[in-house]
Amino acid sequence: MSAIEETPLPGIGTRLEFFTIEGRRMGVVQHHGGRRELFVCAPGDPDRASLSVDLSEDDAGRLSDALGVAREDRHEDRTYEVEGLVFEWIDIVDDSPAAGHSIAQLRVRTRTGASIVAAIGPGLSVPAPEPDFVIEAGQTLVVAGTADGVNAVRDLVAGR
């Protein structure tokens, strides 16, 4: 699965697209006026949208219902709560201010009360990282703590 790529279309809106598991480019053009245009590309010419359908707000809602996977559900899968203790998987995005800093530098436990119990990928996963472990963009941190503490870590790595 590829991530959603965002391309500004000056004067028109924004194009959001990704490659499907079959390698077909598909996505949505969000027009400035609020119109959504769903498109799929031809297998023979990946640059050309071979099918494009205009969707109203209601249509888009119905389509997402019909597809049956709400994005929020998948996010919830990445949080476990056991008797007041919360585990959460937090992605480090490219422009995260935490990227390039060690856990000690960020003083994660002091500032949030939550602990980083593992760091996943890319390539290498580290269980129970030491305080001098350096957080990099592309990693996913597994954080444990109270709900507030975990939220504080999420804000910390997002620079909020």
Partner: protein
């Protein structure tokens, strides 16, 4: 017959004829611009039916057409889009400027039009028609295509260049000396930069101030501000059109969408008047003399626009069919070429310049959409299967 009766008969006749042209254009899904120009040519000096009584009204209407064209071009964009785009599109944009300005400029010199009119002719061949491109993209469902951002970023670069070019051309057309030209360019650049900065930072707040729930109040607010700024811009020799463009950039979000809907019919009316007026001011009897230069310029600048699409496409790993579509989309020159030529005509340029501009736009604006339709149908050589990301 009394004066008023003559005016209404003339204007009514012209509009009725334009209506026929617009319907015809729609039927064959082409841009109406070349047909409007042809209508003007038919009525003008030396044409079939010269207009006399309504000349003055048509003249002001044409000016208003230019202002509305540029205002609505600006409304399409937000300052943030323009700045964000400028960084990534500069190399292709500069290639576009060099490759498409030079043929017109050189042709002008070779034809002995003189340096200043040649500069205008360079502007005419440089700038693609945003209106025709937008129509092609929408008609052929090309919005989601991968080459489309390249086409759009070329247009954005051209539009910004035009905002600088119009005051320069205006200054040299008025026979201004180098210092006056430099001053108007400096003012234009400062104004463009300032408006972009203000629009990025305060665009939403300004737009909220301009916004009104009443269609009527909103229309009058936007139009009023635009005409005031256009007048001020003209007074400091920056060109009314550029002033209107900057107002358009400054207004964004819901205020811009509303203004778009409200102003579109006005723009359609007065832009049509503008094309007719340009046709009127062009002597059709000169057209046969400039036929060869027009043909040659069309061929050369179609190739140079194609080269721009090719370079831009290669940078983004677009396949051959996509680059061909981008080339076809960019081929048509239209409203802004006529706007540039119009400034030269207003300053009393030779009838040959306006004839070349009219003939050139007639040809490229007709052939461009046809080329696009052909590029849409051609399957192109077999390409490698899509690559998953």
């Amino acid at each position: 017959m009394d004066h008023a009766a003559l005016i209404w008969l003339e204007l009514g006749g012209v509009l009725a004829l334009l209506a026929v042209m617009a319907r015809l254009a729609r039927r064959v899904s082409l841009s109406p611009i070349p047909l409007y120009l042809a209508t003007g040519l038919a009525f003008g000096e030396g044409g079939l039916l010269p207009l006399v009584t309504s000349q003055e009204f048509v003249e002001i209407g044409a000016e208003l057409g230019v202002i509305l064209l540029l205002l609505m071009l600006g409304l399409e964009y937000t300052g943030r889009e323009l700045i964000g785009n400028l960084r990534s599109s500069a190399p292709v944009g500069i290639a576009d400027l060099v490759l498409n300005f030079l043929p017109g400029f050189a042709a002008g010199l070779v034809l002995g039009l003189g340096t200043v009119p040649s500069l205008f002719l360079g502007g005419v061949t440089y700038i693609s028609s945003s209106g025709i491109v937008a129509k092609v993209l929408a008609d052929l469902d090309w919005t989601a295509n991968r080459e489309t951002p390249i086409v759009l970023s070329v247009l954005v670069f051209e539009d910004l260049t035009m905002a600088v070019m119009l005051p320069v051309l205006g200054a040299v057309a008025l026979g201004g000396t180098l210092p006056t030209a430099v001053v108007s360019v400096a003012i234009a650049l400062t104004a463009v930069g300032l408006v972009l900065a203000v629009s990025v930072r305060y665009g939403e707040r300004i737009s909220r101030l301009a916004f009104s729930d009443s269609d009527e109040a909103h229309l009058l607010t936007v139009l009023g501000i635009t005409l005031l700024v256009a007048g001020l811009a003209e007074a400091i020799h920056v060109s009314a059109a550029v002033g209107a463009f900057l107002v358009g950039i400054g207004i964004s979000g819901p205020a811009a969408h509303r203004a778009n809907t409200l102003l579109a019919p006005l723009r359609d009316l007065f832009a049509a008047v503008f094309f007719v007026f340009f046709g009127l001011a062009t002597d059709p009897s000169v057209l046969p003399d400039v036929m060869w230069p027009v043909l040659l310029l069309t061929i050369v600048t179609t190739a140079t626009k194609g080269a721009v699409a090719w370079i831009g496409g290669a940078r983004q790993q677009i396949g051959v069919p996509g680059r061909r579509r981008a080339a076809a989309a960019l081929m048509a020159r239209g409203e802004f070429s006529i706007v540039i030529a119009g400034i030269a005509v207003a300053a009393g340029a030779s009838p040959r310049l306006s004839a070349i501009a009219a003939g050139y736009v007639l040809l490229t604006a007709t052939l461009g959409p046809l080329a696009a339709m052909a590029a849409d149908r051609s399957p192109g050589p077999p390409t490698a299967p899509a690559v998953g990301g």
